[in-house]
Symmetry: C2
Subunit: 321 residues, 2 copies
């Protein structure tokens, strides 16, 4: 049964959680109904402060997000969470930790948590995440936390989604300092060292500090480095303040406009890009041509670029549905 | 100056390393010359055994690849290496470790190592990596090792590139066992525990073993779990044998045909997908329309889906150059 998206959107705008959940499921499947819903709810978005929390696996992102939710709730702010786990391309679905969290906040109607695996392919995750953020925004959340694994392409996505990026690190095997040094320093607005009661926390602090100084960005926002112990909540209040300070900075400096424009640009790009691929995989005629060309490429009868040209020409000529 | 790709390809097919390096630079910039070169060299590809080595940052991938190169060289096999570091979206360029490696094998003309940062965006890395593998293949390499950080979207890419996937793990903070459990077990053909002289190696072995048994795949290839110490070379001979056994299995079972067809399919998809985006960003008229629409989306005058539809319609109507 096709859900009536107009009705779902109406319910969503009244704050109905069930409608939000159904719209998110549609968004995750990249269905045309979801796009129609986003068109309707989009004018009601743009109010939330979108915060990205990114860090390597095992850095305690979920626990930290938990504690951040508490902090924002103490301020009576409404909180939405999108937990993106792209390490799970095949299985999808919520992880145990997320299910525990959902239970923990189940009775608080002003917290909405959604977990996403990357069951889709080819940017489907980035696409759906944008839409889920819009849905939470239209649902009236003041704060939207987007939690992603910080490695690979993921960080690039997070700057396309979040206004404030919190980069999480832990003292330890040096697993993530490589990443920090390699360039993702440039995307962090607030640096956080979790498990800062462990050996090596001070060393990590100095490492981040010197990497930040190397950047030599003296004007504008100075990213703070906050030590926390997410399990006990130590330092989380300070972190919350730093996140909100960054938001105030964006608003007062006027940088928020540019920041938001970049996000619109990224989403538009994602949609345009993947629309073609979706057509390729939903139109039977295109699919047949694609399969034939794959076989020709595989047998070296043709090469991938010549095959791609043929496909593109065909996609362009076939009337769009 | 536009390089003469026909000449470069001729030189490449004669085994000229300098021509290979120049073609790779073109491929990394996704230039039309590169595509023309791939068209020419493509019929000479399809001979190499392509091996993916993936694991979390700090798991010792580079050291292990080093030792694998030695093993394959002992068998007189010619080796190409592509080291992909997508954790470096902004800086790009070779990391220190790679420069050391390049020096180490500099005098061996049958080893070719290429490092790639993800300086491009939007799948440019996956695209260029496919092309660089083709270039190494046409250069006459018997073995092509593709080294990637195993987190996020990266693993998905590796199955699209490699015939044999080696999944690297280390005993430790449990940073990567999460990932293993979450589903990437399904992509590994050979499991490797590096730093297996450390505490926790046996536990990691049991964890992987039980995760593999949960999969219940009883027919076909049984992924072995190999303990190594990459720094000393311990276990690397056994690992090499396991990798080559997997290749023999693919050939003897006939699975290699399906495996290769999947790779062709993935590459074709990548090219088609990104061709549109490239047009969007190279054609000034499209660029102007794009910017206008971004502003409209940002000001909520329109929504991302309506804007995308307008852009796509315009892209289709504008004659392709």
């Amino acid at each position: 049964m096709t859900p009536d998206t107009t009705d779902l959107v109406k319910q969503l705008l009244k704050g109905n959680r069930r409608a939000a959940a159904r719209l998110m499921t549609l968004a995750e499947s990249l269905s045309p109904e979801a796009h129609s819903a986003i068109k309707q709810l989009y004018p009601h978005t743009g109010k939330a402060h979108i915060i990205g929390i990114t860090g390597p696996p095992g850095s305690g992102k979920s626990t930290l997000v938990d504690k951040l939710i508490e902090q924002f709730r103490n301020q009576k702010l409404k909180v939405g969470v999108v937990a993106v786990d792209p390490s799970s391309p095949f299985t999808g679905g919520a992880l145990l930790g997320d299910r525990i969290r959902m239970n923990r906040f189940a009775s608080d109607h002003d917290v909405f948590i959604r977990s996403m695996g990357s069951r889709g392919s080819l940017g489907g995750l980035a696409w759906a995440t944008h839409d889920i953020v819009h849905i939470l925004d239209a649902l009236g959340k003041d704060i939207i936390l987007v939690e992603t694994v910080g490695a690979g392409q993921a960080e690039v996505d997070i700057i396309q989604l979040a206004e404030t990026v919190v980069l999480l690190s832990v003292p330890g095997l040096g697993d993530d300092i490589q990443t920090i040094k390699a360039g993702i320093m440039e995307i962090g607005n607030v640096f956080t060292i979790n498990k800062s009661d462990l050996d090596g926390a001070d060393r990590r602090y100095v490492e981040i500090q010197s990497a930040l100084n190397l950047g030599q960005e003296t004007k504008g926002w100075q990213p703070p480095i906050i030590k926390v112990v997410a399990t006990t909540g130590e330092g989380v209040e300070e972190l919350t303040k730093a996140i909100q300070d960054h938001h105030s900075y964006l608003v007062e400096s006027g940088e928020i406009a540019q920041n938001r424009e970049q996000r619109c640009s990224a989403q538009l790009e994602t949609i345009v890009e993947h629309s073609f691929i979706r057509k390729l995989f939903t139109d039977p005629e295109e699919q047949t041509l694609f399969q034939e060309l794959v076989k020709e490429v595989n047998s070296r009868k043709t090469d991938p670029y010549t095959a791609a040209e043929k496909l593109i020409l065909h996609l362009i000529k076939t009337p769009k549905k």
